[in-house]
């Protein structure tokens, strides 16, 4: 029965985090405007939005008793108010301060959420900077929230107060709970007796509320129901002397309230929930229809039953789509971190860059959104660090001093493509080649094609920066990026033109929950291949197979030679066939690399629900996940990219460095399959 108020914490944290992201974006816009047009007054609408964010954080944090957060957001709110009223200049310094305040609020939020340490020094420093420029106002405000000596309250109820069932006495009594009261009635509005209407309120009150730590909010709360029909003014009481040894913004015990982390939640528009409800409604009707049909079933009812089942199938599909859509979030969530990153980074590198973001409405599964955030940041950082040149270099190259960085998202055949593109110097192929030779990935005399070199930059441990830079370095390389994207069932491609730019394309699945697959049989076991990786399936005969000196089987497919992976060998499952022509070869492609997978039989195409293996076991090489078949048994979903890596012998693909070294074992050298021609 007792409702735990902490259940609302999660929402507060999520809302505040989103709010802060928006605030940051608006501040950057403001800064951009101030930069390009000199100092202009910020768009009042933007300022109001920022104000609302801070205001909500303040409201929430004081409700939940996060003292520090409430105090800080209050200071910030006051500063914003000054800015709005023109008491503070919307200059770069202010924007900078406000941006730092966003960081401070994040820190405080995190502290309130997890109990993590709060950088008090830094926050106090920002807090005092927030107070400075409008000394009088800030001083007044900081005492205003919880003045040391209490409040002067003037309460002039509207004449109709009684008719709403309100009672001034009740309100005054409620105030009394906050501290000591000195009340004097204002009878100046009382009419003469003959004009007196007992149902009208003529009285007003002047109230001195003394005591400490009464927040403005608490005082206002007493008047909540009558605020719109009364005149209420609140002024902090002032005494000549301040009490000594008073620490600024008093913080209750609340600031250290540790909130138990709850499971992640998602906010869903009511429209989506409503449509879900509609579908569930239909589902119930269908179910009723089917059970009625079955209850008194005669063979004559068969058509009716089939209609019911078709309807059920449709309902389930709708329900599935609807549920997936609930998990979809616009990629704008990830974008929101970029402007700030670019701004800070460009400043540090002494580079100038314009960031262009588009397609922010493109939707992706919440999990995908969460997991591409870091890789995307890394790519963007990489472009700025390695791609875009300094203004001087750009001038010499005859380019505008300000570089251009574009992040664009769009949906394309069941996938979302996120393109990160710069107009910088492009990949330096010579540097990449040298680096690869150094790392033992290439023979010194090998001349790889550009495509092969694109592949090289994703190899573990490969980095073009001669020394690991503070910015792109950080112990993660593009290999980690690609690994992350792959683990989501996506891929990364790169293209580059020397002197004019580089483009990374992330290809991501819309959702992680459901996949179109092709079920195949290896021995007596059913596996699933993601449909998106399948190019075609072919019949091979033994005479079309050749064998490389290292034992790798290859076959010709039109122009190209492809490696053959016999899955039953790789998985140590007895095959039902002895001859290659008895089974079938599925040609698959991932990241521009192709291979043939030899399987016993193709069973058919089906949509499957993806189930994680790692939640109770661990990663299994060559397997991305599992699914549950109609009969309740488990079938494994093949990880095509993983299989290519796993293949005991190197797999050839014509336009990739043929021999892909396994992570951490640079034992191979590139052998060019073209040599076979």
């Amino acid at each position: 029965m007792p409702i735990d108020i902490r259940q609302f914490h999660q929402t507060f944290f999520e809302e505040s985090t989103e709010g802060l992201a928006m605030m940051e974006q608006l501040l950057l816009q403001m800064e951009g405007a101030a930069g390009s047009r000199g100092m202009t007054s910020p768009d009042p609408e933007n300022l109001n939005s920022i104000f609302r964010v801070v205001h909500s954080i303040k409201g929430g944090s004081s409700t939940f008793g996060f003292g520090w957060l409430a105090d800080f957001s209050h200071l910030l709110e006051t500063a914003l108010d000054d800015l709005r009223a023109g008491r503070r200049q919307p200059d770069r310094e202010t924007t900078d301060l406000l941006l730092r305040s966003v960081d401070a609020l994040r820190n405080l939020l995190e502290g309130a959420r997890t109990g993590a340490a709060i950088d008090k020094t830094r926050i106090e420093e920002i807090a005092s900077a927030l107070e400075v420029p409008s000394v009088t106002k800030a001083a007044e405000a900081s005492t205003a929230e919880a003045p040391e000596h209490g409040w002067h309250v003037s309460f002039q109820p509207g004449p109709e107060l009684f008719r709403s069932g309100n009672d001034p006495l009740r309100i005054i009594r409620e105030l009394g709970a906050l501290g000591t009261l000195q009340v004097s009635a204002d009878v100046s509005r009382l009419p003469r007796w003959e004009a007196y209407d007992p149902e009208t309120c003529y009285l007003g009150w002047q109230i001195k509320l003394s005591g400490r730590d009464q927040s403005r909010q608490a005082v206002k709360a007493a008047f909540e129901w009558v605020a719109d029909i009364s005149e209420i003014t609140l002024a902090p009481m002032r005494e000549a002397k301040r009490s000594e040894g008073d620490t600024p913004p008093a913080s209750g015990d609340g600031d250290h309230t540790l909130v138990k982390a709850r499971g992640p939640s998602i906010r869903v528009s009511t429209a989506r929930v409503d449509s879900l409800m509609d579908i569930v409604g239909e589902l119930v009707i269908t179910q009723t229809m089917i059970s009625e049909t079955v209850a008194q079933f005669t063979p004559a009812d068969l058509p009716r039953l089939l209609v019911g089942l078709t309807q059920l199938e449709r309902n389930v599909r709708q329900l599935q789509e609807s549920v997936i859509s609930i998990r979809l979030l616009p990629i704008g969530f990830v974008y929101s971190r970029l402007p700030r990153l670019i701004r800070d980074l460009a400043q540090r590198l002494g580079k100038q860059v314009d960031l262009e973001l588009s397609g922010e409405q493109t939707e992706l599964d919440k999990t995908v959104i969460e997991r591409i955030s870091d890789p995307l940041l890394h790519m963007v950082r990489n472009c700025l660090d390695h791609g875009i040149e300094t203004p001087a270099e750009r001038r010499r190259a005859g380019k505008p001093e300000t570089g251009h960085l574009r992040v664009h998202a769009h949906q394309k055949s069941g996938y979302v493509h996120v393109v990160v593109e710069d107009d910088g110097r492009g990949l330096s192929y010579e540097q990449i080649r040298q680096r690869a030779v150094q790392a033992g990935l290439l023979n010194a005399d090998t001349r790889p094609t550009p495509e092969q070199m694109h592949e090289l930059i994703f190899y573990p441990g490969f980095s073009t920066a001669s020394e690991v830079s503070d910015i792109s370095g950080r112990g993660v390389g593009l290999d980690v990026v690609r690994e992350n994207i792959r683990s989501l069932g996506g891929s990364v491609e790169v293209s580059s033109t020397p002197g004019s730019g580089t483009r990374f394309t992330l290809r991501l699945p819309l959702t992680l929950a459901i996949m179109d697959g092709l079920s195949i049989l290896i021995g007596d076991q059913t596996y699933l291949l993601p449909l998106t990786s399948i190019v075609e399936s072919i019949h091979l005969t033994d005479d079309r197979l050749s064998r490389l000196p290292d034992g790798q089987e290859i076959f010709a497919l039109r122009e190209d030679y492809l490696g053959l992976i016999r899955l039953h060998e790789l998985f140590h499952i007895p095959s039902r066939h002895t001859d290659v022509s008895q089974g079938i070869v599925v040609v698959v492609e991932v990241d521009g690399r192709r291979a043939g997978l030899y399987v016993d039989e193709l069973l058919g195409q089906q949509q499957v629900v993806i189930k994680n293996i790692e939640s109770h076991y661990q990663r299994v090489d060559g397997i991305s996940a599992a699914t549950i078949l109609g009969d309740g048994t488990v079938a494994l979903i093949l990880d095509v990219a993983g299989l290519m890596r796993l293949s005991p012998r190197p797999v050839m693909a014509p336009d990739a460095p043929g021999c892909v070294p396994r992570r951490g074992s640079p034992r191979s050298t590139i052998s060019d399959p073209r040599a076979l021609h």
Binding site: H572, N612, S615, H616, V620, A626, L636, P648
Partner: protein, 169 residues
């Protein structure tokens, strides 16, 4: 509650686990696992094999929508293999939120052990299975080996012999 038992010497498993154990039989020997770690007991069914996994991982099973690994304790303890019969059961254990099925010959009972029944472990240093043993108790007429499920199911142990590296070369 969480006793420090990181070393080889077993902490007092009896007090640690509220003294209730599920006792099952495997190759003629009785074993016990803390009842608090047992989620459910299922009848035996064939698991879906996982490629390139240790032999004692029989594969994965669908437990109401979750995919859980199934461990063959006979192989784990290097006992001779046995065909499943009507007594063969899968004990689903929950160790720190991770679920796993453990195949056993038969499930006997849930038993309350008194700390007094605990016996010191004989010195079988170097024995491969030693690390999985949490303690010994003397039941009415036989000895029950208490297992340490954390160690038996720790992901690190799954990795031992996770054959890929060896097989791939």
């Amino acid at each position: 509650m969480e006793a420090t038992h990181a070393g080889i010497s077993p902490a007092d498993p009896l007090t640690r686990y509220n003294s209730q154990f599920l006792v099952f039989r495997l190759g003629g020997q009785d074993y016990g696992i803390p009842i608090l770690q047992v989620q459910e007991i299922r009848e035996w069914s064939r698991a879906t094999g996982l490629p390139n996994s240790p032999a004692y991982i029989l594969g994965v099973l669908n437990l109401r929508g979750s995919i859980i690994p199934v461990v063959d304790l006979r192989q784990r303890f290097r006992l001779s293999p046995a065909e499943p019969d009507t007594f063969t059961a899968i004990v689903v254990v929950n160790v720190d939120g991770r679920l796993a099925g453990v195949v056993v010959d038969s499930v006997n009972d849930v038993v309350w052990f008194d700390p007094k029944q605990q016996r010191p472990l004989p010195d079988f240093e170097g024995h491969a299975n030693r690390q999985f043993i949490e303690g010994l108790v003397q039941a009415e007429d036989n000895m029950v080996i208490l297992l340490n499920m954390e160690r038996l199911l720790s992901p690190d142990d799954f990795n031992i012999g996770n054959g890929l590296a060896q097989q791939a070369v």
